[in-house]
Amino acid sequence: MKYGIVRFPGSNCDHDAFTAASQSGSAVYLWHKDTQIPKGIDCIILPGGFSYGDYLRCGAIARFSPIMKEVVTFARNGGLVIGICNGFQILTEAGLLPGVLLQNSGLNFVCRDVFLSVANASTPFTSSYTQNQIIRIPVAHGDGNYYADADTISKLETNNQVVFRYCNADGQLTGEANPNGSINNIAGIINKGGNVLGMMPHPERYADSLLGCADGRGVFQSLELFGLSNSTKTVESISY
């Protein structure tokens, strides 16, 4: 699995993503002004941070970076894309994932570990987890409150596109376990084609047991497995 880590002005999780990705493959950095994605890249990561200072809305400016035009084409052609935190916000602004990330319902920036339930373990990003497995991953965001209209939420649920949900240590989807007010405790979603993942928690920050927890490593292990078993075929690409 070869990863391309996109760096925007204000990205600050690019090194973490690079290190985590390198554990299950190789990685290169891509610059936001790049106008093409190098051949051989299997998975693009839009890392966390505060691209363009979060001016106007989180991800609104980054979405128009030259590289994003290529990322959209890459995704439409079935390429794997992960947006983590600010990367998730960029993906919604770019229209690769439905909905938006509103300001946290508690108005505070939330920076702590949360528990997640793996709501869909049948994706290229989650296959090394078990269905409903409880994992511990950090969040660090001020605008992570996932919102979409009722029809969109219904489609996401029906199509099994919710991949991670905030839960407590026992796996219960309580309000207290939800750090930002997201509808249905949504922490991460995938597009209908199954090749674009957006998630607010940071798996790359818990991808090595030296950091105190390696629960996030499963995302990268899943991709490694997917790369090994699908080296000659690509995911069918469709929009959400």
């Binding site: 128009f64 602004e93 938006v100 300001q103 919102y147 209209d149 007010g181």
Partner: protein, 89 residues
């Protein structure tokens, strides 16, 4: 071609809970202003735009709002266009 001054007000869509607005409203109620209600907080943009007419400026700015200035999934916007800007001396 005329130069117009314009202001754009952006607020969360009506159906979306404005937590910040509610919090400020509650604070006002606790500080001698219980008569204030329906408080919503948004963003304010002012700009100048060159266009053939006021209608053309309106159309142009609606396009800019839909593309970048606002996110219609979560925000409503109101555009106010003012008289053509006087020639600067």
């Amino acid at each position: 071609m005329n130069t117009y001054n314009a202001t754009i007000t952006i607020t969360l869509r009506k159906g979306i809970l404005d937590v910040q607005g509610n919090t400020v409203e509650h604070a006002l109620h606790a500080t001698d202003f219980p008569m204030i209600s329906h408080l919503r907080i948004g963003k304010f943009v002012e700009l100048t735009v060159e266009a053939e007419s006021e209608a053309a400026a309106q159309t142009l700015l609606e396009g800019a709002c839909l593309k970048l200035i606002a996110n219609p999934i979560m925000e409503d916007f109101t555009i106010s266009i003012h008289e053509p800007k006087a020639e600067q001396v």
